[in-house]
Symmetry: C2
Subunit: 189 residues, 2 copies
DNA sequence: TGGTTGACCAATTCACTCAGTCGGTCAATT
DNA sequence: AATTGACCGACTGAGTGAATTGGTCAACCA
């Protein structure tokens, strides 16, 4: 009934199924059972509609990352669980996966911008958690921006890049062993 | 005078200037002052000629990386100097830079394969140095393959990726501070 | 009358074509 | 035996017009 909601749902479905470029406004209108003009009373253009969808997805992802952390568990355990969850989301979530594929294949500018924004968001999220860890005395004071950045890049490399150049994916145990023995080891108080 | 050498030099010049795709065999022949057919008596096809050029470049890079290391200096200092040198080479060397650009813009398959081979070579080089460090008792035993991989990915992220999403490049001091405080700190005996 | 709509428009994209280019060959030449 | 460049078939990419798309707006309700 809520037009705006219908539009968001239709658009999310279409973007997830066909990606940004291959989704037409006519298609969104049809899926949402709405006249095309109606869409433009709620969203200035295709890109803003897209951004709204992605924003919802970012919130989902953050919620899932929060959900896997355990109150009272040591920092490195929660940090690992959160990062792994977000990377799993990255490869699993229909829309996110589709966008990564579209970026690789089509280079749609709007998609590239959005993917970059999502990464920035993830890094900011990690930075927040590190700062909270420092505040709680679990983590040594450090260059939080850079540590968040390198942590994300490291996980991305281990979880996502490794498989592209090797026959089999890295096991989570091997990842944990590496990071607990290196980065996390030097971060903890 | 040496035909093979002339061809290699002409090809190197052309690949460096125009990239792989935009280099024609006629052009290489002309630059090398050689009939086109002659090229095919030394190299099976364009791609093999290309691979020969890249192989020479890899050796140059390794030599430059070796050159910056200091006999007797601590492991993390030499490791840092070597990795920085190779990444500088990566962004500075005419052919290497051109290939990275071509991979981004054109997605030429032969170029992608070669770039991947170069990275594999770099990682292998880093792995060798870590193993030597372990043998000398400077470095704690560890998953050398993975440590080499993550070290390279970390440096690549800090030196090359950071600038793409931030206004200014990271200073070398900040990089050193981060890595000495994290990865290197836990690697050293 | 304020919200909704789809025919309509300009701009972009797509499929198609065909002339020109390129990697690779090989008979002729040195 | 080594070298060459004219030649070939496959591929490319510029040029084209037709079809599609994002966005608008006058008409149309409720």
């Amino acid at each position: 009934m809520d037009r705006r909601q219908e539009i968001l749902e239709g658009a999310a479905k279409s973007f997830s199924l066909f990606g940004y470029k291959a989704t037409t406004m006519d298609q969104v209108a049809k899926i949402a059972n709405v006249g095309k003009g109606t869409i433009y009373t709620f969203f200035a253009n295709k890109e803003e509609l897209f951004n709204a969808i992605v924003l919802k997805m970012i919130n989902e992802m953050r919620a899932e990352a929060d959900a896997v952390s355990v109150e009272g568990a040591p920092f490195e355990q929660n940090a690992h669980a959160r990062l792994m969850q977000m990377l799993k989301f990255r490869g699993t979530h229909q829309l996110y996966a589709k966008l990564i594929d579209e970026e690789k294949e089509l280079r749609t500018p709007a998609v590239g911008e959005v993917l970059q924004a999502i990464e920035k968001e993830i890094i900011f999220y990690v930075k927040e958690k590190i700062e909270k860890g420092i505040a709680k005395g679990e983590v040594l004071p450090c260059d939080t921006e850079l540590v968040a950045y390198i942590l994300f890049k490291a996980y991305l490399a281990l979880v996502s890049d490794w498989g592209k150049t090797h026959d089999e994916e890295l096991s989570e145990e091997r990842i944990v062993a590496l990071l607990n023995g290196t980065i996390f080891k030097s971060l903890l108080v």
